[in-house]
Symmetry: C2
Subunit: 155 residues, 2 copies
DNA sequence: TTAGATGCAAAGACTTTGCAGTTAA
DNA sequence: TTAACTGCAAAGTCTTTGCATCTAA
């Protein structure tokens, strides 16, 4: 786990007076140790069970809620009513998502220009651009050109 | 109901060989007759029941699915895992959403500049900018300044 | 006439919660 | 020591589905 991530977690636990328990350690490990893929509750549960087969889904949901409330994990909706979690906001607080409407591939990106424009629009509408986030839904060129794309095939 | 909306609905029903039944008419009326507010399945159900108390939730879900597949209704996630439906894409195909993270107020907006920029980013990432949509999550100025805002109070 | 649509009630998927026992600080 | 946490199983919420009946075209 990235030391920056570890530090933010410890901060949150101290700030909120939370206890660091073994079941929570396992969930944190499952959520933050990897390459930063998004995951559903079910996927996180599988990963947690691979670390400790006794991992409990109730504790997992409770821990995920704490992390979301604390801002360390973001709930994202990639369409189709599926709730996923994004562990990358600690390291990349300003990233946005592009989601392929066909194959559900998700790409994270940051862009200075769109941030500025977004701020303008947000202010014009009478809002403060805090905690803003952008989702672009688009069609994957791979799919359009070849009639298929990686993630669609792998389903 | 707006004639343009009516026309698109009829088009869809003809294209897909769907039958226009009374239960479906009621749901269409509930979804598209008003000022274009977003609604949840439950809210739509209440409205449908106000038109005909015998309205069935099963038929409602089935009809909503057809409309979403046909592109007449868009599923939107305004955070908190709540699924809502947006009936305004027929009249405003390119609108985007700004959602207040505090009070969940939703504002629809269109912006030429952000559309262009969005297209650039999308292409750069290897995607086609078809059916793109942007969600900005931000903080409501009203809330920030006065400590409260309309929608927060009304809850 | 008949394929499609309906409505009920049951099932399903996902998430939350009550409670008795356990544990970090 | 004790307030917080855990894990189980039960409950809750939201959505889908099987099936017998009905109906638009």
């Amino acid at each position: 786990m990235n030391p920056e991530v570890r530090e933010k977690i410890d901060e949150l636990f101290i700030k909120k007076g939370l206890r660091m328990t073994r079941p929570r350690e396992i969930i944190l490990e499952a959520a933050f140790s990897d390459k930063g893929d998004h995951f559903t509750a079910e996927e996180l549960y599988e990963k947690a069970k691979s670390i400790d087969p006794k991992a409990s889904l109730a504790t997992l949901y409770r821990t995920v809620s704490l992390l979301v409330e604390g801002g360390l994990l973001h709930e994202i909706n990639l369409g189709k009513g599926v709730v996923s979690y994004d562990p990358n906001f600690i390291e990349h607080p300003h990233h946005n998502h592009l989601i392929c409407v066909d194959c559900s591939e998700v790409i994270e990106f940051e862009d200075q220009h769109i941030s500025v424009l977004e701020d303008c629009i947000t202010k014009r509408l009478g809002f403060s651009p805090a905690t803003k986030s952008i989702q672009i839904k688009a069609k994957c060129d791979k799919l359009r050109k070849s009639g298929s794309c990686q993630n669609l095939i792998s389903k």
